[in-house]
Point group: C2
Chain length 346, copies 2
């Protein structure tokens, strides 16, 4: 065998070392590379016969287009940057899975720019430009205005999930205010009067809006919060907040934690103190992460419409990739009450 890299088992010589290109196809088909390119991209002007021949050869040669080369000329990479935040909160991994699912449906890939709550280095944002990313998706409750600014300066469309956009970009969120109201209404209807609230990360719209909605409905019923604690949007934060409440001997009917992961901590702290949920105290969360439906918690919560959020976010992103001059939009999608057993009913 003097040409060990040629595979003739298909009855066709096929070189595995050198990949097939528009050039190799054009030579084999006896047409120009322009024609090959057009045929491959479904350009209507190419005759059916030529197209068929080109496609057949492309298939035979196992042709895979070189996205780098294409991007260089089209100035579209087909890749979107992804920043994903507080990965300790299962909400984000679950969101990530949905994102990837919807991405694979459309013609997009994403490049991971950042994971976790730590702040984003300038340098990371740089790859955004180097790789000519078409846009950027930021799924995080905390502030990344630096990236937003860089993207804006370079006319890279940005869509935030789970956060209201600051200035220029788009945001898709659950209607956290309305959700907070729902939670509040449900608790009050259930007869609870002495209610504590465990807040999430300070200065995030997610936490603030849920709290604001909750308080609004509460005050409409002429009620006020019996207590308020910071829970930092973590399990341990929720746990500590509830322990505090207990240590301070605050008399309570119920606790509303601004998200499920904190609610889980709250429930565990209650049990630790010998209280039973919901018999002795009700607990409610927000998000409807998977763990909310575990029998141990069986958490009554407000479900975020994750799929709808992801869909709309991708829509917005696509629209702005097509037409970068479009104005920023914020979309709020209503979440719904998921009633389980952690809130005692009358």
């Amino acid at each position: 065998m003097d040409k060990p890299d040629r595979d003739t088992t298909l009855g066709e010589t096929h070189d595995f070392r050198r990949r097939s290109t528009v050039r190799t196809i054009s030579e084999r088909a006896g047409v120009s590379t322009s024609t090959v390119s057009r045929a491959l991209n479904g350009d209507g002007r190419i005759s059916a016969k030529t197209r068929a021949s080109v496609l057949a050869i492309a298939h035979e040669q196992r042709y895979t287009p070189n996205a780098m080369a294409r991007s260089l000329v089209t100035r579209r990479s087909g890749v979107v940057g992804l920043v994903i935040g507080e990965v300790d909160n299962p909400f984000y991994p679950e969101l990530l899975a949905r994102l990837q699912f919807h991405f694979s449906t459309r013609e997009l890939r994403f490049m991971l720019l950042h994971v976790g709550a730590r702040s984003l280095e300038e340098e990371t944002a740089h790859t955004l430009l180097q790789y000519q990313l078409d846009g950027c998706l930021i799924a995080s409750a905390t502030l990344y205005s630096r990236v937003e600014e860089i993207c804006f300066r370079h006319r890279v469309p940005v869509v935030m999930i789970n956060r209201i956009a600051q200035v220029h970009s788009c945001g898709v969120s659950c209607n956290n205010f309305a959700g907070g109201r729902l939670a509040s209404q449900f608790m009050v209807d259930a007869g609870h009067r002495r209610i504590a609230l465990v807040a999430g990360m300070a200065k995030t719209s997610v936490s603030e809006d849920r709290e604001a909605g909750f308080l609004t409905t509460l005050s409409e019923q002429e009620l006020t919060l019996a207590a308020r604690k910071e829970g930092y949007s973590t399990y341990l934060g929720g746990l500590a907040a509830a322990r505090d409440l207990i240590a301070n001997n605050v008399q309570l009917d119920a606790v509303f934690a601004v998200n499920d992961i904190m609610a889980m901590g709250v429930i565990d702290a209650m049990r630790e103190a010998g209280l039973r949920v919901p018999r002795d105290i009700s607990v409610m969360g927000f998000d409807d992460i998977q763990a909310a439906s575990w029998p141990t918690y069986d958490l009554t919560t407000i479900a975020q419409p994750v799929d709808a959020m992801v869909q709309r976010a991708l829509d917005l992103l696509f629209e702005r990739i097509e037409d970068p001059t479009r104005a920023g939009e914020d979309i709020l999608i209503r979440g719904e009450l998921r009633q389980r057993s952690s809130v005692r009913l009358p």
Copy 2:
């Protein structure tokens, strides 16, 4: 203003619309583009003076290299594909965060090819080729031999985390067999004799090796398993397995769940049945995810050396990107016992 896109506020005309390129720099510096390229890449042959001048201009023009163009000629994209598996198990999101951290340290980015346990479509693997990815990292316990095969055929180096490589690629794992032995030894030393094992996903080396190690040490002590259940590597699987054990009235001192997320389910099932951990029954896990240290579980477990695994995985990947002919290697890193309170001591 007839040239609204020129920003002269810096005292330098700076066009935000057209990005700076080697060309614009070369014109401004009065040298060739070759020289610009070399200066930018730290080629030793360029004089200090020229380099300084080029660098200054590049900085002034806010030059960002076009990675697409570079990749086209170097045939190196600087991007690695990432497949991440069972995202319901917090181990994977936690691993992801570490991966991203170590990635940002080195000169690599990654493109998300797949998230979740569902099987990988052929099409997804295609982007691997289209984008000329330099390698692929697969973090998943389940089998993705299809990707492995595609990568092999196209000489794309693959490194698996948490799984022994099938045929050609590299694998980096915790030494699951040794870890299983550790767990077993610890339980036996603690005086447990009637032990049940909850297995993970069938046919995964992770689960099988942990089980095999566990059984080996057990049999060295002339002991056998009191029961064995499948737990499918999920919380609900662990819960169901333990409920089964209880329903069948199996007399038990302890349960070893092959991973933490199942162990959490086991503990919750025990409590549901009124048993106390560890007083009435001991439970041990494997992985040391964050939830293992939550007070509710305070799970004794075997900690996977995640950072070391990630480091070695990236090393292997780099080496094989440099020299694709290198033989596959498997690296097993020893985990360590993390003793908490879920296993009763004598």
